[in-house]
């Protein structure tokens, strides 16, 4: 199907006789992944509006996973097509479906497959109903896809907005917490500001080169030597600022910790993964493939940006006591590593960045999912102390978290190791030894705070103390309102069951039993410590975490296919 459309004409255009306008040929198969997400999103909205009874959140999650899987499969089919026949360009050269774009399409689809699994349980627990989370995630994903395959600055901008606006709303999804609204407001205002800067950059670039099409700009710059290039460099600088804001590079990172902390935790994970995927896709394409001739101008700037991002992210993360804040600074640190590949501006560097973005996306989704589980309902307990002894209470979750943290630290046998290795190697190969050294140093600093959490989870020292006073703690806890979970109790695990979950679990029981449970669920529900996981996990989140951990470990032990994929993607640029 895709093949025939491809043969029908890559740049084909047909004439509409009546109007005299040549409408560009649209190769629908080439933009099928985006169309699946957008169309599916509209269907989801319609289903939610038309269904006589409110659908459970899991129904929407299932639909979203299905849509994302469909778009993943389409992307992979397109990938096979592109490797066989070369890259496609369609709709008046506005969209490029090449290896680079398809790598990101696959990455984005993977994020969209996992994110609903990790979010469903949280949404049920926090009683955020309706399809909004999924609908916004799907639109956001389609925006990121447009950014990845855009061959026109105008489309890059639209993709950026379609990616960002749902993220602003996702940050404010939880009406009950003030921090959530504050995060949304902050993100929106600063995001709108950075978008304006980005548009200004597009305007200046257009003024300097006479086109918004990336290929045409590249051709113009290849043909001409711009002697007085103030406008062009100004435009380039503003574009870089706009991107740097989206991917949270220092010094444009100010919003990140507050927004990541305030947003609902699964939304934070999604935000970190998706904004980085979309932002870096367009950043790499615009700078490496369109402005290679101006490399001497932008490489030093990216050097400084990368160095600052690496160092500030790592150093500030060390002093955080809130896990969400720590992870948000660590996400800044990771952005620095991806910038390393951009700074190298070689095929190797770009391949390293691609690999990094893919692996980081799944790792950060999984990490924030664990944080959302441990944080408990109401989301006000994210300090590090809560992770003490988690390995004992929640061996499975703790192990998964440990793997994900080790991957972020860059431990061997995880994808994080190879990701860091490739970008640092690319930087060294491009003779950016200083930057490579800074990256190694920041990785060492970062390893400290990741390993601290791992040690906390598996240390017994903290867990032993509350064990002795279990009875007292029990009495004290019982008097507390639900929603306050004691830290690290080994003698008795106390879990405020999310009321929704309790109601779910007792649903098949008779009416009176349900009434009993309801009266209980307003208090604290205690579970025995017979190794039963006290934190309300669901098969959904376990499956999602399983995928994240499996990808991290499998591609960490056997990285060849993914490396090949990233390498091929840069060849088919």
């Amino acid at each position: 199907m895709i093949g025939s459309a491809h043969l029908a004409g890559v740049v084909g255009a047909r004439l509409v006789a009546a109007s005299g306008i040549t409408i560009p040929h649209i190769d629908y198969t080439a933009i099928l992944p985006e169309l699946i997400l957008l169309g599916g999103m509209l269907l989801l909205l319609a289903a939610a509006a038309l269904s006589p009874r409110p659908l459970p959140t899991e129904a929407y999650a299932t639909a979203t996973v299905g849509l994302a899987t469909a778009s993943l499969v389409t992307s992979l089919v397109l990938w096979r097509d592109v490797t066989d026949r070369g890259p496609l360009t369609t709709v008046a050269h506005s969209i490029d479906v090449d290896g680079f774009a398809l790598f990101f399409l696959v990455t984005i689809s993977c994020i969209l497959v996992v994110a609903p699994m990790l979010g469903a349980g949280y949404l049920r627990r926090e009683r955020i109903s309706g399809p909004e989370y999924y609908v916004l995630a799907l639109i956001s994903g389609s925006g990121a896809m447009f950014m990845a395959s855009a061959n026109d600055l105008v489309l890059v901008f639209l993709g950026l907005e379609i990616l960002s606006i749902p993220l602003y709303v996702l940050a404010g999804l939880d009406h009950r917490r003030e921090a959530s609204g504050e995060a949304a407001m902050k993100y929106f205002v600063l995001g709108a500001f950075s978008s304006a800067i980005f548009v200004y950059g597009i305007a200046l670039t257009y003024g300097a080169t006479g086109s918004t099409n990336l290929a045409e700009i590249g051709a113009f710059l290849a043909r001409n030597v711009v002697t007085s290039d103030g406008v062009l460099i100004g435009g380039l600088g503003l574009l870089l600022v706009g991107f740097a804001f989206k991917v949270a590079a220092v010094p444009f990172h100010m919003w990140t910790p507050d927004v990541y902390q305030g947003a609902p935790t699964p939304a934070t994970g999604f935000m970190a993964a998706m904004a980085k995927a979309g932002g870096f896709a367009a950043l790499l394409r615009v700078f490496v493939s369109t402005f290679p001739s101006l490399r001497s101008s932008w490489q030093p700037v990216v050097f400084v940006l990368a160095a600052l991002t690496l160092l500030v992210g790592a150093v500030v993360a060390v002093v955080q006591s809130d896990v969400k804040r720590m992870l948000s600074y660590s996400s800044i640190n990771h952005a620095g590593f991806v910038l390393l590949g951009l700074q190298a501006a070689t095929a190797r560097g770009v391949a390293g960045s691609l690999y990094y973005v893919f692996t980081y996306g799944l790792v950060v989704l999984g990490s924030f999912a664990v944080v959302s589980l441990v944080g408990g309902s109401g989301e006000d307990r994210h300090d590090l102390a809560r992770f003490r002894g988690l390995g004992r209470r929640q061996p499975v979750i703790a192990t998964a978290f440990a793997v994900l943290l080790l991957a972020q630290a860059g431990a061997p046998f995880t994808t994080g190791f190879f990701a860091k290795l490739y970008v640092v190697e690319a930087a060294a190969a491009a003779h950016s030894y200083l930057l490579a050294a800074i990256a190694m140093g920041s990785a060492a600093i970062a390893a400290f705070f990741y390993l601290r959490v791992v040690f906390l989870m598996f240390s017994d020292a903290g867990a032993a103390a509350p064990a002795g006073e279990g009875a007292t703690a029990r009495a004290v806890e019982a008097a507390r309102p639900a929603g306050i979970e004691p830290a690290g109790a080994a003698g008795g695990s106390w879990v405020p069951e999310p009321s929704g979950a309790v109601a779910t679990m007792v649903a098949p029981v008779t009416r009176s039993a349900a009434a009993d449970a309801r009266s209980v669920s307003s208090g604290v529900v205690a579970l025995d410590v017979s190794g039963e996981p006290p934190v309300a996990t669901s098969p959904w989140i376990l499956a999602g975490l399983g995928i994240c951990v499996a990808v991290t470990v499998v591609f960490g032990v056997w990285p060849q296919p993914l490396v090949e994929f990233a390498h091929q993607a840069t060849l088919l640029f």
């Binding site: 959140t57 008046a92 105008v154 639900a482 109601a503 779910t504 449970a517």
Partner: protein, 242 residues
């Protein structure tokens, strides 16, 4: 193109139109600053914006002129008026008092800097791209026709993708504007939400202990089920309790 050349190229009707529009613009702008009533200021702004629209027509930028009227005078000034009305028209503002210390000086300096920049930019020749934006566009057809053409050819996909942006705007506005508890459609049955208040009184005493254990058993049974099953069960349970 330098300023004298532009003036020399202008015909007499052009010059008269320009002069009239310029007077309208400047008078309107003065009105915005000097009027005591904020509503009058907003209306004076309309005058300025209309004057600018005339200037656009004078420059053969018909589309810009139309957009200027539709967007700025039509939408943005109305928005201003809404805000003024919502805040209260009669509220006295002490216009002459500095809200921020030294803001006048800063405003003056910044204004002069912008003016200097504009003069500088007008006199400098930048080496720019292939197309000139100062002269008339290539090829036959009016400005508007050309814009239409490029929207449906070169910028077809951005034009179409804008629709996704509009969907985002609608969904986002609904999500953020909807307050919880105001008849919001809920995935759960409403009674379920009532029963399970997160800030209920703590269950204490031996009776509560027993109930705790019971609930724990029930919870254990619940986790054993698959999620899809649990989801369906939630619906069934809701139906029963209803």
């Amino acid at each position: 193109m330098s300023a004298p050349a532009v003036l020399a190229a202008a015909t007499i009707p052009d010059a008269v139109t320009f002069a009239l529009a310029a007077v309208i613009c400047v008078v309107g702008a003065l009105g915005v600053v000097l009027m005591r009533n904020p509503v009058h200021s907003a209306l004076a702004l309309v005058m300025t914006l209309f004057g600018v629209a005339v200037l656009f027509v004078e420059q053969d930028a018909q589309f810009l002129a139309a957009v200027q009227v539709i967007v700025y005078t039509g939408a943005i000034v109305v928005l201003f008026l809404f805000v003024i009305m919502l805040l209260g028209v009669d509220r006295r503002e002490r216009v002459l008092a500095d809200t921020f210390r030294g803001q006048r000086v800063v405003a003056l300096v910044l204004g002069l800097m912008v003016l200097a920049e504009v003069v500088l930019l007008a006199r400098t020749r930048w080496t720019t791209g292939a197309h000139s934006v100062a002269g008339p566009l290539d090829g036959p057809g009016s400005n508007v026709a050309k814009l239409g053409r490029s929207i449906f050819t070169t910028y077809l996909i951005p034009f179409e993708v804008t629709s996704a942006l509009l969907v985002v705007a609608v969904v986002g506005a609904v999500v953020l504007a909807r307050r919880p508890g105001l008849g919001e459609p809920s995935g759960e049955a409403p009674d379920e939400a009532d029963g399970a208040s997160p800030v209920g009184p703590g269950a204490s005493g031996p009776g509560a202990e027993a109930a705790d254990a019971e609930a724990a058993d029930a919870a254990g049974a619940g986790t054993a089920e698959s999620t899809a099953g649990a989801g369906a069960a939630a619906g069934a349970g809701a139906a029963v309790t209803r």
